[in-house]
Amino acid sequence: MTRRVEQDEHIEQLWYMKERGEGSVAFLKRIMKGAFELKDLQELVGRGLVELSPDGATVKLSEAGDARARQLIRAHRLAERLIADVLGGGDLEQVACEFEHTVSLELVNGICTLLGHPRECPHGMPIPEGECCKLAKKTELSFIVPLLDIKVGESARIAYINCKNDQQLHKLEGLCVRPGVVVKLHQTYPAYVIECEGASIALDKAVIANISVWKNFDDPLALVGVKAREKKPVATGLAGFIGSFFKPAFKK
């Protein structure tokens, strides 16, 4: 148990290697630099998380190891998203690294839901899907909804833009369509038309689909699922904890 964090680190690196299609121990050594320990690797083999080839040259994650790595990577990249999008930047790497080893599966799913099940981390790497993503893209807990789900005439604050195409993202940014601004939906057909910082902008559905917004952005209680009048005890536990983060940020 003592070297759990270090061993997790190995598992994570193996996941990166899988994403890149690499499988040699030499490569693992190179990317982990000084952090590589043969003993940890052997212990992982012993725990049934890693499979090492007989000659010791190639290495890969076992099924169980894959599941563990998936969980770690998911936590890491979601933490990055959380820091980058919601908490306003900072040193992504370090916080995310500490975060991934300590959080529970439930908390990770909670954060994922809160963020609206993002598909990529701020660096553009894919975030592995969790149960929550598969189950519910539109559960009542997802306070961030796709802009597609907003009704005509409603306003919403952009949470983030999940866009693969760099140029498209820059074009949107150039028009001030970016996280933090409030947009109003004017029309959905034949093209989507949104109003943003005084300009009307017509967009394809494909572009709109990439934009996620905070609904009820000016009502912090609504963010955590509490309707102001009926005081439901929903805001305790996870939602209340996370909600407490955001209240100050959304005070007008």
Binding site: A84, G89, L92, E93, P122, H123, N165, D166, Q167, Q168, H170, K171, L172, E173, G174, L175, C176, R178, G180, H186, Q187, Y189, P190, A191, V193, E197, G198, A199, S200, I201, A202, L203, D204, A206, V207
Partner: protein, 656 residues
């Protein structure tokens, strides 16, 4: 002053070297209007993004200093998305203008601030022009010019361009423009990375800081610029060095740059906004929304078309009569009275006469229609309806597989096909671009044609008008669907388009534009009208015309069901389509064409003969091979189509 720029002999002490002033800004922010005001020249302006597709230069004097003023197409930011924008950036980076004038739409000033931030990074003296200050007060947040000037550290001129207000202030501002130090600071971490890259760049390169930032952001086109500037070998050495530095850069650096920029923009925007009560959306707002509404848009579109139709038919009909009475009848009478030898009379006022087919055709038949049409069309352009119409028409165009970005170009084609073809430069996807260029050249009538076609068909009946435009739309749709299936690949570019709010068109701007369009038409087309008339006259006299008529008779009379004399029209159409249309108009008047024949004739002239300027534009955008093959394809397919149309109509109406 950049190295390599021609310096006019400094020995002549009273002649200062010419300085350069580049006008840049987001699309549809009034750059050309500022250019016109500054230089006293006239270039077409419209309330439509992408009106200017080429850079225009002219030399003007401000006090005792000569400036080369450069008008540019729209530019969103210096991090480039498209070919047309890269031209503007390359011009700035290569020519290093002495002053940059940025046009900003006051009602949407925040969008422009990102570009402002980047222009400040260039450390070139900058002047900001706040356009449409009067509209800004009504529709959006009002912005304080003096405050903006304080926050940016550069002169800000408030102007209302169409009225030419703020011209003198702008000139004064250009003279006192200076560098500002109030641009973005990226912070120690990013700046030191920028420093690393800067030191890898050649010592004498201009704008090293900005180029370093672009390299850091992985700009797609900056490598090409370096190649152009430094030569392939040196550039690739530099780029390799930069790539090594970039590998060491933390992945969140790009995000940090964007964050800094956004913070800067937010800070400035917040500082200059004049707080005001949220005004209730006005009448214009509702009209704008209705004009692009999927249902309400239909009656609006139809009623506007009706306005065009009625004004072209009645107003130009009246003008026609007046000119006929004042010019044509007296001149014809005079020539007849002179009783010249028959050859000369024939040459002047005969069927293929220099005056009949040349001068009178141009000024008496075509000109009234064009002036009315240009005026009405100008009103639409100025009101901002056309961009809203692109959103509305996306439904139809989308059905036939034309992506949103191409629609803007296609709609522009109703104004001028050449301009529209050049504007496809903004399309990044090759397939999308090919389809757009083809469809523009194919069955879209340009404004001149549209006007004259309306006038011709009005004489035959409203049903003819509807049939022709129905057929044209069908042809266009069929071509769109066909090309979409034939050409491989999937067009994937995204449609992102700012649409201007509608406003009441400025009468002065519209009149000015109509006047200049008419002058341009006369300058360009009148000589062609006259020369083609002479050509046709000679052709006729030496008997070649009759021979051609005989040779083509099976095609013309057999297949297309048109009278033999229509050859005259086709020959004129090769030179200038308005001339051909004018002749058709006359033939309809004379009863030489029946109902079906008129329809067929109008469709032929609309799609069979791409105008020369358009073909040249296609060549420039797509290469000459594509231009030639497109022209041939259009020519052949149109004759097949028109024949089929003829037979269909004959069957339906049982003429003959």
């Amino acid at each position: 002053m950049s190295p390599g720029q021609p310096v006019i002999s400094a020995a002549a002490a009273d002649i200062k070297p010419i300085k350069k002033a580049a006008i840049v800004g987001l699309p549809n922010t009034g750059k050309t209007q500022v250019f016109n005001n500054l230089t006293g020249e006239y270039n077409i302006v419209a309330n439509y993004p992408g009106t200017t597709v080429e850079m225009k230069r002219t030399i003007t004097r401000i006090r005792d200093q000569h400036y080369e003023v450069i008008d540019t197409p729209g530019l969103h930011c210096l991090y480039i998305h498209s070919e047309e924008e890269v031209a503007v950036r390359d011009m700035i980076l290569a020519e290093a203008p002495d002053v940059i004038i940025q046009c900003v739409d006051a009602s949407q000033y925040k969008q422009s601030l990102l570009l402002t931030a980047e222009l400040l990074e260039l450390e070139t003296p900058l002047v900001l022009v706040l356009n449409a200050m009067d509209a800004g007060g009504r529709n959006g947040p009002a912005v304080s010019g003096p405050e903006l000037e304080r926050l940016l550290g550069v002169p800000v001129v408030e102007s209302s361009s169409p009225r030419g207000l703020g011209k003198d202030e702008l000139k004064a501002a250009i003279l006192k423009a200076r560098r500002s130090t109030l641009g973005i600071k990226y912070g120690f971490h990013v700046e030191s990375r920028i420093g690393d890259i800067t030191s890898a760049l050649p010592f004498d390169l201009l704008f090293k800081h900005k180029i370093a930032v672009l390299l850091l952001l992985n700009d797609l086109f900056i490598g090409r610029f370096l190649e152009m500037k430094l030569g392939r070998e040196k550039a690739s050495a530099v780029l390799a060095q930069v790539a090594a530095i970039l590998r060491e850069v933390k992945p969140n650096t790009r995000q940090a740059i964007n964050d800094r920029r956004n913070q800067w923009v937010d800070r400035v925007a917040e500082g200059v906004v004049i707080k005001q009560k949220a005004s209730r959306p006005g009448f214009a707002h509702y009209v704008t929304q209705a004009s692009r509404h999927p249902l309400l848009g239909i009656p609006i579109f139809l009623s506007l078309m009706a306005v065009v139709y009625l004004s072209v038919v009645y107003v130009s009909g009246a003008l026609d009569k007046v000119i006929n009475f004042l010019v044509v009848s007296p001149v014809t009478g005079l020539i007849t009275a002179l009783s010249l030898p028959p050859f000369w009379t024939d040459m002047l006022i005969g069927n293929h006469g220099l005056l009949t087919l040349g001068l009178f055709n141009a000024i008496c038949t075509v000109l009234p229609i064009l002036s009315v049409f240009f005026f009405v069309f100008g009103c639409f352009e100025d009101s901002g309806y056309i961009t809203n119409f692109t959103v509305f028409s996306k439904r139809v165009f989308g059905k036939i597989g034309i992506p949103g970005n191409a629609i803007t170009s296609l709609v522009l084609g109703f104004g001028c096909k050449t301009m529209a073809t050049l504007s496809t430069r903004g399309l990044t996807d090759r397939k999308e671009k090919f389809i757009a260029v083809f469809l523009i050249a194919f069955a879209i009538p340009c404004s001149a044609q549209l006007g004259i076609s309306m006038a011709i068909l009005a004489k035959v009946g409203v049903s003819a008008f509807l049939i022709v435009f129905g057929v044209l739309i069908l042809c266009e749709a069929a071509a769109g669907i066909l090309l979409n299936t034939i050409i491989k690949g999937k067009a994937e570019s995204a449609y992102i388009q700012v649409i201007p709010p509608m406003r009441f068109p400025s009468l002065k701007a519209v009149c000015q534009k109509t006047y200049h369009r008419i002058i341009d038409f006369l300058k360009e087309a009148l000589p062609i009208f006259i020369f083609s008339a002479i050509g046709l006259f000679i052709f006729d006299k030496i008997g070649l015309l009759a021979l051609t008529k005989q040779a083509l008779a099976p095609l013309i009379t057999g297949w297309m069901g048109l009278p033999k004399d229509i050859i005259d029209v086709f020959l004129l159409a090769l030179a200038r389509r308005e001339a051909a249309a004018g002749l058709i108009l006359k033939m309809v008047d004379a009863g030489a064409l029946n109902y079906v024949q008129s329809i067929v004739a109008v469709v032929v002239t609309t799609i069979s003969f791409p105008c020369v300027a358009n073909v040249i534009a296609i060549g420039r955008e797509m290469g000459w091979k594509a231009a030639v093959s497109m022209t041939v394809l259009i020519f052949v397919s149109s004759f097949v189509l028109v024949g089929a149309l003829n037979w269909a109509l004959v069957l339906i109406f049982a003429v003959r």
